[in-house]
Amino acid sequence: MKSQLPADEASAFLDAAIKGELPDERGRFGPFGGRYVPETLVPAFERLEQGVREYLHDADFQREFQRELREWVGRPTALTFAPRLSERWGTEVWLKREDLAHTGAHKINNAIGQALLAKRLGAQRVIAETGAGQHGVASAAACARVGLPCSVYMGAVDMERQAPNVDRMRRLGAEVIAVETGDKTLRAAIDEAMRKWVTDPSGIYYLLGSAVGAHPYPYLVRELQSVIGVEAREQMIEQAGALPDAAFACVGGGSNAIGLFYPMLGDDIELIGVEAGGTGEGLGQNAATLATGTPGVLQGAYTMILQNDDGQVQETHSISAGLDYSGVGPEHALLQATGRVRYVAAGDDDALAALEELCETEGILTALETAHAFAYARRWSQENPRKRILIGNSGRGDKDMPTLTKHPARIRTSASA
């Protein structure tokens, strides 16, 4: 049920997106986005928007942000050629190594940027939600770095499957609050963080972890994550001698994907976002929001969501906590509607197999989220041999050991390659 725009509107919106004119002043990416929040939070969103306008592109702020990215996060992250995987897949594979960033995923780019912003805005404390725990760990670390107290809301289901990250957050000084309501995963954690924010909208800074939610978050997160695509683009030209034919990224809320894709929108590169296909195509069996959802309002934005006919948001399933979400960033909804980016799904088993194959061929234990991008890139390469492709390796898989232990290395990919 993909949303489509009339051709002339689509090309006008795509032009605007490429020129950097979106979101518009109402926080819209074409028809998507906006700000659907309780009245109590309206002044807080206005302050945040004002702060973003004042600081984000200010020279002082950028100097500090860039220094943190370089000296604390460890940027630029490497671009790695994957020779053994390339040979197996019959295509030239390059990996953008966000797993090498401090705390092990791209999430830190956004977390440190927003923590610096929170400091500028005079926040007394920070709250965050987390799914896989990567954003929670990144927020805990960034808050420690800038000296702000941090509380992380995490669904009870996710606390179990991403247990190593719960301990890490606590070690890094954050309070981790178990969310026992709703679906007990990422969506419930966001709802609960919003409920907390409403109690102290001027003292609390809400450090949202993906390119989702009400304006200006999708914009703010994209700006902070675009470093991924900017670096990858330059590194491809330098190391591979050319831009890739196609680029792949996994899509939960869509922050690593928008960070990789946004600087490449104007290039002749096929862009493919890979969502969680879970165990099947039925409602509730997956988290393939763009591939199978319909437009609606969830958690502050008009975007594609997984819902029933009554407008009730549906529970999702994915083996990876970070993709297990019924919504998606509004900019992705527009990029899909314009046809610029294609969104597809890869299932639990394919992701597990891809994770093993990458371990075996390149010695990289990738995150289960990221493994979805590999699973689809592998399929694509079979249909499009002898190309040059770039995969956003958004994070490392150490956090997934509790899940991986339940799925012993049963899939030996070498025979079937």
């Binding site: 700000r35 009245e39 109590t40 002044p43 709703g182 709802d191 409403v198 009554d310």
Partner: protein
């Protein structure tokens, strides 16, 4: 007269008897869908206006009680379609109704059909807690076409200029959220409530009803000195949850 004026009239009538209007809130179909119409009738005997909550999967402005009632109602198959057909069955309750719903169920229903069905079933206005004024034109216009109101919420965090704008845009009554927080809080009403409600009342051309955290007769009386009405939600839902008759509870709070 447009339907939303029935709300204003009902509230003003209560005030003429020297009492604040009582506005009970229930989550539709909770705890028993089969009891919805009965409960509604009982509550409409005491309440001046009745607020019917549409359960939603992501009630981000609600505390534990209304979260619990919403999830249970959804499990039992409650939907906006079902609510309208029950309201049709209930017939005239002689008490104006307000629907409170998060935006997405309304979007999925379609605004024009929504306005028509609402008007036909005695609903006079809508309260949409995740629809701020800046995003509300489309719904507001669709409702207006049927004489229905979109009730604006104001909160202690609302700046003065904005307060005036929201009060002027509201139809039926203005919903003054008493606390900076979610529904069902048990921390008591804030100390500076009187000043806040006075400010809202003087900014508003239509009656102001206060809601969130109002649990007992003392709260209603307290609020009633500075606002035209009191909305009682979580506390009533808890009474229904325990299987009690809601009438004695509401009568103790005032009401008609």
């Amino acid at each position: 007269m447009p339907a939303h004026e029935r709300l204003t009239a009902a509230i003003t009538a209560a005030n003429k008897h020297n009492r604040p209007a009582l506005v009970p809130f229930i989550t539709a179909g909770y705890p028993e869908p089969g009891e919805f119409v009965n409960t509604l009738r009982e509550i409409a005997q005491v309440g001046d206006v009745v607020e019917v909550g549409v359960p939603f999967s992501d009630p981000m402005a609600d505390g534990m009680t209304i979260q619990r009632s919403s999830f249970a109602a959804l499990q039992n198959g409650v939907s906006l379609k079902w609510i309208f057909s029950e309201l049709e069955m209930a017939g005239d309750l002689h008490t104006p109704l307000v629907i409170m719903s998060y935006l997405n169920p309304l979007l999925a229903f379609g605004y024009e059909t929504l306005a028509r069905r609402a008007r036909a079933t005695g609903v006079c206005a809508f309260i949409v807690p995740d629809l701020p004024f800046e995003e509300c034109d489309e719904l507001r216009i669709a409702l207006e076409a049927e004489g229905l109101g979109l009730i604006q919420l104001v909160t202690p965090a609302t700046p003065k200029e904005r307060l005036k704008m929201l009060c002027e845009a509201s139809r039926g009554f203005v919903y003054a959220v008493t606390v900076t927080g979610i529904t069902g809080g048990d921390t008591g009403l804030p100390n500076d409530l009187a000043d806040y409600l006075d400010a809202v009342s003087s900014a508003s051309p239509i009656p102001v009803c206060a809601g969130f955290g109002i649990r007992d007769a003392a709260d209603v009386a307290n609020v009633g000195e500075h606002a035209a009405g009191a909305i009682v939600g979580s506390a009533l839902v808890e009474v229904l949850e325990s299987g009690e008759d809601p009438r004695p509870f509401l009568q103790a709070l005032g009401g008609k």
